[in-house]
Symmetry: C2
Subunit: 342 residues, 2 copies
DNA sequence: TTGTATGCGTTATCAG
DNA sequence: CTGATAACGCATACAA
């Protein structure tokens, strides 16, 4: 008993096609009929049926968002909500809908993506993760389906796919230089999964800065841990056990840095007096910690916003060559960093 | 150029309707043709077009999720990602898709909901917020569209709508009793927006416990703040300025409690030695703070999971009367609470 | 400027 | 057990 274009047509004494044209705001429909039709639509409470529309248009005006497989991780890390917020903002502006993936394993994700693409559920995809040899990407590339990666794509794909990312090398270099300028010369590096592109890139930046400063790299000061929070705690134990412990630590993730802070606190090592700690991402939590973290804002919201912009662009004209977009970063000085004193 | 049910039919030498039946796994199709058709589907790489299917079925197998309007807030508070995780899990199990609202103002949300409903974009909705006199709810009720609220519905709607919630009165009462048993007798209450149902209910529980213990209520020990984090800081300033400051604080939100902790720290008031602090929600952050928070786990994931279950149920048979579901809570003792000593 | 006719890819009804 | 055929609601090519 839902009211359709035909009902409107009948009531307005026009053909269904005319109503359709009014909806599309077709320029060569007289103002007079437009108004008439519109008022009837209003009167009858007409709403277009998206499914019918999608069917004939072969287009849904919906963007799919694919979360990483680590079933729990994605939503634990404030990074994801924040990108999502950026995506949401852009999508809303442009009247696009958002369809969220729900799969929890790599295999299921691949299936879901295939389904989304084949069944024409979405017009384009945003991948909120990036791993090497991802079959999802191969699939999308083969189908030439519009998509954008948030993060760093695998080396061999840099030219082939669109992505939005930070310059993590440069970012980490800057953070290291900052500590160097604060007179620190034993600076530790605490990273996440050592095979993640973020970790790799940030480590490179760290090393570059040290080398440029003529400081010899010390592998014993670089540690990696998978666990987002506990990893930070473990790292501190390891690092403080070195013969000459560092006076500063660069942590690749704010949450991990919270673990670091807590372990240091429990060891009675005062931050920033006895130890400087800087991290990356500037998630909300980083300003709520005690003491608040000096961190690098990577503009997560913008990453999402731009990604949404890019998919839409690729949806609209799929022929334009893919491109990588780099989003700026900004140092947020708070209370965990301080000049080194003997 | 996409391959349809007709292509499969032709190739398998059957009618399109037969293919359709095979897809639906219709029992009265011979095993023989079923297999033949299936193999052709495989061979041709056939995927059903959801839009066509939705059109004729008038059903999408998609659940819509409506976030609160406070444009930034939702994703800042770890509560939302976590409910979303629960919803996601259930939806995935049952092969339902998730459609996310993107609107940022109350007005826009109403429009978006109307659109989602009228245009048949989703089969049911989950509202991740609950305010009094919400026009969205009136609309959904009037359309008898399946939906579930996560949170406490307005008094006059308790019987009319389905919802999933905690028993916040009982929860707060328990937290208060816990502090009472730790010999605290000046216990402060720090709440969020005073017109939010959560705040109201938790305050009630707090009062109930105090009264039961024969402790006179002291309005000067109850403060409210809208800002999720700064609110905690302000509250501490106010409360510690009282003639006789409290020895314990009940904070209605973990994030706010972080603000509390930080302000206490800066005042050199040691937690838990000089002040006990307990809060609600048990979001990830609460265990990462220094010291880790004693808090009440409200099973956020389960709230989402059950909500998804309930909408599906209401979608499948809309006739069953609405019901309210209460999810359990659990005290998580960590390091911010301690027996009171003079 | 507007109407007619047809198709989008499925499912469902009705025959056979 | 299977095949024709008519919807589902909309958009567009072609006519008028």
């Amino acid at each position: 008993m839902t009211i359709t274009i035909k009902d409107v047509a009948k009531r307005a004494n026009v053909a269904p096609s005319t109503v359709s044209r009014v909806i599309a705001n077709n320029p060569n429909i007289s103002m007079r009929t437009k108004e008439k039709v519109r008022s009837v639509m209003e009167e009858l409470g007409y709403y277009p049926n998206v499914n019918a529309r999608n069917l004939v248009n072969n287009r849904t005006n919906v963007i799919g968002v694919i979360m990483p497989s680590a079933s729990y991780a994605p939503f634990q890390n404030p990074f994801f909500p924040e990108v999502l917020r950026g995506i949401t903002a852009e999508a809303n502006e442009k009247r696009y809908g958002l369809y969220l993936s729900t799969s929890q394993t790599e295999e299921a994700i691949l299936d879901e993506v295939k389904d989304m693409v084949h069944s024409r559920r979405v017009d384009g995809l945003i991948l909120l993760y990036s791993t090497i040899d991802d079959p999802v990407i191969d699939f999308l590339l083969e189908k030439s389906f519009p998509f954008v990666i948030v993060g760093q794509p695998a080396e061999q794909l840099r030219e082939a796919v669109s992505f939005v990312n930070n310059d993590n090398v440069k970012a980490a270099k800057m953070m290291t230089e900052y500590l160097l300028l604060l007179k620190h010369n034993r600076i530790a590096f605490i990273g996440g999964r050592s095979d993640a592109f973020v970790t790799i890139d940030r480590k490179s930046g760290y090393c570059e800065a040290l080398e440029a400063a003529g400081i010899e790299l010390d592998e014993s000061l670089m540690v990696y841990h998978d666990e987002i929070f506990e990893g930070g705690e473990k790292a501190v134990i390891e690092l403080m056990s070195r013969k000459t412990p560092p006076s500063a630590m660069i942590v690749t993730d704010d949450l991990m840095a919270l673990g670091v802070l807590r372990m240091l606190f429990s060891m009675n090592i005062s931050v920033p007096d006895d130890m400087s700690v800087v991290s990356f991402n500037n998630v909300l939590m980083s300003k709520l910690s005690t003491p608040p973290l000096t961190t690098l804002d990577i503009r997560i919201f913008e990453l999402g916003y731009k990604a949404a912009q890019m998919v839409r662009q690729r949806i609209l004209d799929p022929e334009t060559p893919p491109k990588g977009l780099i989003v700026d970063h900004h140092l947020i000085r708070r209370a965990t960093s301080k000049t080194y004193v003997e």
